[in-house]
Amino acid sequence: MTDDTTATDRATEEAGMSTEAVVLTGAEIVCECLLREGVDIVFGYPGGAILPTYDALTKYPQLHHVLTRHEQGASHMADGYARATGKVGVAMATSGPGATNLVTGIATAMMDSSPIVCITGQVPTGAIGTDAFQETDVTGITLPITKHNYLVTSVDELAEVIREAFHIARTGRPGPVLVDIPKDIQIQSTNFVYPTEPVTLPGYKPPRVGRADQVDAALKLIRESKRPIILAGHGISMSNANRELAQLCERAQIPVALTLLGKGAISEQHPMCLGMMGMHGGAEVNHAIQQADLLIALGMRFDDRVTGNLATYARNSRKIHVDIDPSEINKNVNVDVGIVGDLGEVLRQLLDRVERRPNDAWFDRIAEWRADSELREIVRPADAPQHPAVPEGKLLGAQVIRDLFEFTGGNAVTVTDVGQHQMWEAQYYQHERPHSLITSGGLGTMGFGLPAAIGAKMARPDQEVWAIVGDGGFQMTSMELATAVQEQVNVHIAVINNGFLGMVRQWQEFFYEERYNQTPMVNPDFCKLAEAYGIPAIRVTEREEIEEAVHRNRARAAGPTLIDFVVEKEEIVFPMVPAGADLDDMIRRPTPEEFERKRRERAAAAEAPEEPAPEPEAPAAAATVGTRFGV
């Protein structure tokens, strides 16, 4: 017996669970296994093929089942639960449509490496392949969007399969695992012995420490660099390597840029932290990446939203890439040193030997870029001189987020949907702690926000949780308001309501000559919608009203709340790297000076009509992007 075995044994006994064989049905085995995996909440929706398991759930009051209003909500809630805690989230659904409705949530979890286990009912074994009622090949459908999946073929293997599923979901590069259980197997009985030995899978051995020669090579590159930059991704917080990251950047004086999911990897108040990179990242951050002589990529995957045009990406830099998934190394960007391993382990290997040295000239250069960005900043304290581009008396989405940051003390867990409000969140809500921003980065799933926020709040009831959603995405899953009410989930919803699919509208403005096709939305009255569910709601139309509204809803300690922020319709997220453009080829907001000059020129042109009108200026971005490939 190994130490692990005794530990598991002990844990099982302490939990009052016997390791003696007992005869249980498949459905009961599912529940027993969930308990032993430490599950306390299951998000799901019942139906024919999963009914035996729902019936068994009545005998396991320790497993709290949350009835969602759509199975998509269940998979997003499980995902939100997982991202808020690092624990495995569990979603349950019936066969056929129940299972297919989980798909978007599973793909979302896959793209962002979120550990969830989905349990689906399947038609009885004998009916599989006959196009039975509510039959669908869900293991086939989810093959490319799960880390692994199982179709259980015998009740005797059920316990082992569920154990493997949790093991695979939570270890290595985490991800979603689906277990499809035919109805007859849920009904059949067998001797249930919970396996106590650790899971061993011959084809699955997550790496831990980095290879020593590669660590040496990385240290050499760090030593030789003058303009290094760390690119910190989701992997930092997933490996709990936050402290190691802070130590590394402090010791070697290396600035840190964050990916969207990397927010929280290091406190954004930390002097070494530059903020977010990429398509809507800070201009100074993107300049720093393009001018760096060394990129140290940690637990990030060089997504196209982060690199822009790969051919010109950080052309003069050497590159170190640390990731737990070997297939990420040299996938999009060829690197000089690739280290495969757990980030915590690898960073400790590096920390042991990294040298202290100043990088003042490099930081000075970044400070110059930052000063230029600050000139263009549109969100300023209410009593400071405002940027002339701020429309008089209009509420800006960006201001709402900044004020929300202020009035929540920066301490909330925020869960966003996808679009402009998501980017403003990333730009204006500074996160200090890991797992405090939950957002769909890779798949960009509209409709993620509300259900994921419900899952996050249920996972961490002691935490203030805000769902920041746009009016478009909110309406994709707003039926989950009922779930929040039924479970009395104290989640605060902020709808950034501009009556447009704002991000799509922004692309249409820049790249499709302002043809706003299918982006204006006729919305319901969100306050009345909330009231229909019994949810207290406030409408905010001016900046002065934000503080009171936020505090009023924060003070409500039970059940969901909602604020409908009616914001400027045609606001733009700046800066923007057009898809496929070079990373430092950004569309910027003009400086106040540029803005005033343009305004004067326009006024002068209007006063002198006899002069031939100057060639209309082609939209800058359309010209940049014209023939380039990009999505």
Binding site: T139, L143, I168, G203, P326, S327
Partner: protein, 181 residues
Amino acid sequence: MAKHILAALVENRPGVLARVSNLFRRRSFNIDSLSVGRTQRENISRMTIVMESDAAEADRLVKNLYKLVDVVHVDHLHSQPSVVRDMALVKVRASSENRREVIQLCDIFRARIIDVGAESLVVEITGEEEKLEHFTELVRPFGIVEMVRTGVIALGRGGHTLKDEGYKPNRTRSARRRNVL
């Protein structure tokens, strides 16, 4: 671009072939041939994958194959001395007048005639792909009625074997899991 021969040991689990072939499709790998069969181990099958690509692409495929839980081991066989074989059954049109000529060709290629009909012969030929291609070119003028190839299979020479020492079959499941490709 070069020919890459990869050998993969996989667990005999439902859907493993679908997982591997889906990987080719999903990540746009262009595969020349794929052959699958059992090994001396009850729960392990072996896949031989041939692809025409650059080294980086082959490396990418290896890494992605390893991500599949059911894949136990993968090896580049082209980078070691190895024996490589493909096999074809070719039904060649051959009347009484030209049958001798076809038989002579078969002799030269050490191909075996395994069926003789009034108008045709079935020839079994094994060897490296080039040999098979050369042979089919030579018999083409007689008329190839139909043919089938197994795809390439390969083994490392001498002491070079695919590592699966760490492999222990899963007790509960191994008994039931056979022939599930």
